[in-house]
């Protein structure tokens, strides 16, 4: 093999660079970091169980959107608890989760997702 030294060195540099996010976090970051969205005080439950909301809130919101806008059905019947809620980001979700910054953004920033909800829906001022 010609220039074996250079090639191997090149591959090594390449591997180091491409794995940068992994070893950098291991070395200097805090791999145990968990985002910590602030839950509303004095509330015991959401429209569904906590686990369900963590994993499926985006699908649920999409279904709410379609139901309200396309079908004109605005009341949600909770699968878990059977109670009814108006399907509204502003009037239902954010009545309790008052601050986008201290709730939504905490995880969204961590996972680097950037939903466009608030381009149109008005977020509460969040004292």
């Amino acid at each position: 093999m010609y220039d074996a030294g250079k090639i191997i060195l090149g591959i090594a540099i390449f591997l180091v660079l491409i794995t940068f996010p992994f070893w950098f976090t291991l070395a200097l970051g805090n791999p145990d970091y968990q985002p910590d969205p602030e839950l509303p005080a004095g509330q015991v439950q959401c429209v569904e169980s906590k686990e369900y909301m963590i994993h499926w809130h985006m699908d649920l919101l999409n279904q709410w959107r379609d139901s309200v806008v396309r079908d004109g059905n605005r009341m949600y019947v909770s699968r878990e608890y059977g109670d009814r809620h108006e399907m509204s980001l502003t009037r239902t979700c954010m009545r309790c989760h008052e601050s986008r910054e201290r709730f939504c953004d905490r995880c969204h920033d961590y996972t680097a997702v950037d939903p466009y909800c608030w381009d149109c829906h008005v977020e509460p001022k969040g004292e």
Binding site: V69, G72, M87, V122
Partner: protein
């Protein structure tokens, strides 16, 4: 051996495809949403609006209608006519009814402002051209918009013969005066918007806001809102008993905003100084 490998690959391929397509479908079915209309929501077979063209010419009525609608729906106020956004506004009679104007059209109509809004057509041309079905006609006749789906292509603006649609050339929020109503979403840059016949109010059991405003300012009978599918509704009775017009009916869109025209009363005709006779035509 060859044969069986071939079969194996076929079966494996089909299964993989089945799983790939089946899983999302099953997931969606398994998660079907339980939803229902809000209690008290207005339901109709075919919503329509009728306005007394002369009563709604009053500047205070027009102002009230526009103000309440634009505030409620966070419609931005942009003065540049090339970028303005409007849901309800006024246009010259001659342009609203181009085929209903001639040399001798009464001065009470000619050149006067007429209140206009989306016609919620029976055969809406905007709906036909929308490539994403962001705009569509609901069962009850409301021509709705799903802002989540609008890609801003503006075909609908070109297709609508009534100019009922506006485009957001820039972020509307800085131009929403006096302030944003948090109860209703704003729009974002790059989407089209128009009157939604107050769908969000119908869902709460309320009629359109402009109708309430007009009737408050000009007295009952300035505007009517109701269900054409109900033969006993007030709007059907009014349309049956009074002369009404639609905008540019020859286009075949079948607008569902009707303009009621007051014809001169017999007594008024008698007072006229000249002696012309109104011919009475036999049927």
């Amino acid at each position: 051996m060859d044969e069986s490998r071939r079969n194996f690959l076929k079966i494996a391929g089909c299964s993989a495809m089945g799983v790939a397509w089946g899983v999302p479908v099953l997931r969606a079915v398994g998660q079907a949403l339980e939803a229902e209309p809000a209690p008290g929501a207005l339901t109709g077979k075919r919503w329509a609006l009728a306005m007394d063209i002369q009563k709604c010419m009053r500047p205070d009525v027009m102002r009230a209608c526009q103000q309440v609608c634009h505030r409620l729906h966070n419609v931005p106020k942009i003065d540049d006519p090339e970028e303005e956004v409007k849901w309800i506004w006024s246009e010259k009679y001659d342009n609203v009814f181009p085929n209903k104007v001639h040399k001798f059209t009464s001065d009470s109509l000619k050149g006067r402002p007429v209140l206009v809004l989306c016609n919620h057509c029976e055969r809406p041309s905007c709906v036909r051209v929308c490539p994403t079905q962001a705009t569509w006609k609901r069962e009850d006749g409301v021509v709705m918009m799903d802002m989540h789906r609008c890609i801003g292509c503006r075909y609908c603006i070109v297709a609508c013969p009534y100019g009922s649609r506006s485009f957001n050339w820039s972020d509307p929020r800085p131009n929403i005066k006096p302030d944003i109503d948090p109860e209703f979403p704003t729009r974002s840059q790059g989407v089209v918007e128009k009157c939604n016949l107050c769908a969000e109010r119908l869902a709460k059991g309320l009629g359109p806001a402009c109708v309430d405003a007009a009737n408050q300012v000009a007295g009952e009978g300035a505007m009517y809102f109701g269900d054409l599918g109900d033969p006993n509704s007030e709007i059907v009775r009014v349309l049956r008993s009074r002369h009404s017009m639609q905008r540019r009916p020859a286009l075949g869109t079948e607008p569902h905003v009707f303009y009621l025209v007051s014809t001169s009363k017999r007594s008024e005709l008698k007072q006229k100084p000249n002696d012309f006779v109104v011919p009475v035509l036999e049927e």
